[in-house]
Symmetry: C2
Subunit: 479 residues, 2 copies
């Protein structure tokens, strides 16, 4: 890294301009680079390493629950995309169309896949014969293309990287159980590894995935109070199976239609991490997802023994943590800024005075607290500090979520609150799309979800139409 | 799995029709399914699990040599593709063109990437400033699209999955070293993990990658004597850097052009594994790449204690190997065929008589040799049998390679040999493209490579023009 590049590493503050702060981090923490092709990005090695860690965490969870990976074609013939009516209506307006192969015009144009439901259906129709084969618990890692108008790195782009799980089941109950199980997988990944608290719930009909009977979501609140839909899980019933005429020999010697789910989580999560944990010095990464969990920075490294000791520490810790030792000839101050920008959870400083005292200094990325640790006790102290650090990230995000979620019943109060402050507003809702639309027009709020555990519990009135109801909706402004 | 599906699991024999035998394995071992989109395939979970193991083996080797992964845009604007003349001439005839985004016709059409050299160049131009940043040692995992006319699963298809490494260096020497280092990485992966012996060498000019100064290859011989180009590594010099005007502040306070490499290995390797190790019962997998290395098949599993013992074995072995226990109610004979078709290296049979004798039976996939093993000694015996099995796969393939490679000097002998037998022919060659073309016309042979260690050693004459030369070429018929 050239020294002159580091001089420009200061970023806009969150309070000054949250959107600019976000973009600054994306660029200055070397997460992305822009393509000349509008809406497409390069995910740079440091950003991609975060994604690789997300992939590992999710893939492990998927495999523990018997899911297997496969790969499907990148291109979908138009006739295949059109087989399920709601689905094609949802996606056709935003797909990229391939019309030529080399110099030859295609007889039928093909789209770059925006999602793979219809591909899985084509495949399943070929291979499914009997109930004995079910369930199919499949997942695909890759990227998809949707021709978005306005784009921002990680949050909305014409290409994004994701996993899409697609499963096929003998019964509706099995498929519904899978849909919710995968939502739980997302929630526990977000809460335990990304340290992002979420609200689990069901989407309203107008926010459902194209072709789904029910869509479930995990919604997170960013530092600015806005919502980020962080993962969704869809129950399709047998709608796709009927559209594609997929049947199997059932237990009663008849033919039945199988029931289907899909669920996805994407590189959006990197955006969620930035906007949940980041601060004015840059990125702040949860330990489970950080490319390096520790960076060792030698102080006065030209002095005898310092680099040896730093290397010794690295060798000692590398089986426990992902460790980087920065022994370049940049000044320690430069290095501190560099790894703060990159969100490395803990840095270890070691210099001649520390070596004399048989100690080193741990510095937490979030609080910048300095902790002097005897080398005898290093592993135990690191474990403690990592746990406290991760817990603190979660607690701070949780506090933001709790304090910025208000329950309101009256429309004028909701409008006033929405004008004044971003955050979530919880209210009753009659269930009609008209009132949901009215909430968007009058208060600028979209329905994020109908949160689990709060439905059918308490009667109240819809703030728009005044109808009595026991349905609760979380409203917010969303990325 | 439905029983009736298994009844049709017999396949064409290799000797009867090698091409049909290959296709049969692809389908019946559940590696791929065909798409209605010509030339595109579904890589099914069992096939994809082999690819995941290949990915792990390669990715580990890449990371051990300081390479990092990143992700680049899927689509390339036409003007970007056109910046390097040789490169665009090589690829433009076979790319898929996106001309519409939703309903809007694009101002500039974009191709689905066939390879990513120009994308890396666009990115590097943005981020490279100083020699201090170099080398960039980058890799990308993904799929690419090339509009091939005739296609076969894994060997040649309109989409294939691969890794493409792209690196940028301060000096030509550094880049050349990288090019050869990565060729060695491919060779050691193939020989040590895929158990496929290879010939390393340099491609002739007419077989070079579009835009490269030099292309190196690892060539393997399939069971039928034909060649499979299994991995290539390209040295570009500074040609792309000049075309894209990528420069850096060098050590002498000037601006210099960096030197570039790229190297790729793909799902072709699954084809190589099928055609190197497979037999008339199906796939034969090397232990390092097998989705399950062991399958446990209980005999008379309804008898008391059998399933318990089988589960106990599974638990005992699962930290050492990827183990599957098949406790479905299919007959053991069905299961034997199923896992032979899928190439599982070793099956363990355990039944009441074995339990009485405190033993189990190991059956090697390649030789079908039955080995009775005392349970006390199971781990040690498994290690021994796995090693012998893997060595035997390599030795068999090596023998095929050695016995079917003949050195010939006279054109009529070469033509006679090429007519009679597939295999490699080694001869001198004058170095001219005309003589290379003539060899294709007269003998149906393409140059596979100029093998390392054999150049400049021994004088002889070109079989076509009779000119004296010390250049040696390996010729063959290729997939």
């Amino acid at each position: 890294m050239a020294k002159n590049e580091k001089l420009v590493k200061s970023i806009t503050s969150r309070d000054e301009d949250f959107a600019q702060w976000y973009t600054d981090i994306c660029i200055k923490a070397e997460l992305v680079d822009y393509s000349t092709a509008k809406g497409f990005v390069y995910v740079r090695p440091y950003g991609y390493a975060i994604w690789e860690n997300i992939q590992k965490c999710l893939d492990r969870r998927f495999k523990e629950t018997d899911h297997v990976n496969m790969a499907l074609p990148l291109l979908i013939p138009e006739s295949l995309l059109q087989k399920e009516k709601d689905h094609v209506n949802g996606f056709a307006p935003e797909v990229a169309w391939v019309t030529y192969g080399g110099k030859e015009k295609l007889e039928e144009r093909m789209c770059v896949r925006p999602t793979s439901e219809v591909l899985f259906c084509e495949h399943w129709k070929n291979v499914l014969q009997s109930y004995r084969q079910l369930p199919f618990l499949y997942n695909q890692w890759g990227s998809v293309v949707r021709w978005e108008k306005t784009t921002r790195p990680f949050l909305r782009s014409r290409e994004f990287w994701w996993q899409e799980g697609h499963t096929l089941h003998e019964t509706a109950e099995d498929a519904q159980r899978e849909t919710l199980q995968q939502l739980d997988t997302y929630a526990s990944f977000l809460e335990e590894e990304a340290m992002i608290p979420v609200i689990k719930g069901r989407k309203t009909d107008s926010e459902k995935f194209a072709g789904a009977e029910a869509t479930y979501t995990v919604e997170a609140m960013m530092h600015d109070g806005k919502a980020l839909q962080s993962g969704t899980s869809h129950y399709f019933g047998d709608g796709f199976a009927r559209a594609f005429d997929i049947t199997f020999a059932d237990r009663n010697n008849g033919r039945s239609f199988p029931h289907q789910t899909s669920w996805g989580m994407s590189t959006r999560i990197i955006g969620a991490i930035i906007m949940t944990h980041g601060d004015d010095e840059g990125l702040v990464l949860p330990p489970a997802l950080a490319p390096f969990q520790l960076v060792i920075i030698p102080i006065a490294q030209h002095k005898e023994g310092v680099l040896d000791k730093a290397n010794e520490l690295k060798d000692r810790l590398k089986s426990l943590y992902r460790v980087k030792l920065d022994d370049t000839d940049n000044q320690p101050g430069w290095k501190f800024s560099e790894y703060e920008m990159k969100g490395v959870p803990i840095r270890i400083e070691i210099g001649p005075k520390d070596i004399e005292k048989d100690q080193c200094v741990l510095v937490r990325r979030d609080t910048r607290e300095k902790i002097f640790v005897s080398l005898d006790n290093l592993e135990a102290e690191l474990e403690r500090v990592f746990n406290e650090y991760a817990d603190a990230l979660y607690a701070r995000a949780k506090e933001n979520l709790v304090t910025r979620t208000v329950e309101l019943e009256k429309l004028d109060e909701i409008i006033e609150q929405a004008d004044k402050n971003d955050g979530f507003i919880k209210s009753h809702w009659c269930g009609s799309t008209e009132c949901e639309e009215a909430m968007k027009e009058k208060a600028g709020l979209s329905s994020r979800c109908m949160p689990f555990g709060e439905q059918g519990v308490k009667k109240g009135v819809c703030p728009i139409c005044g109808k009595e109801t026991d349905t609760i909706v979380v409203w917010g402004k969303a990325y």
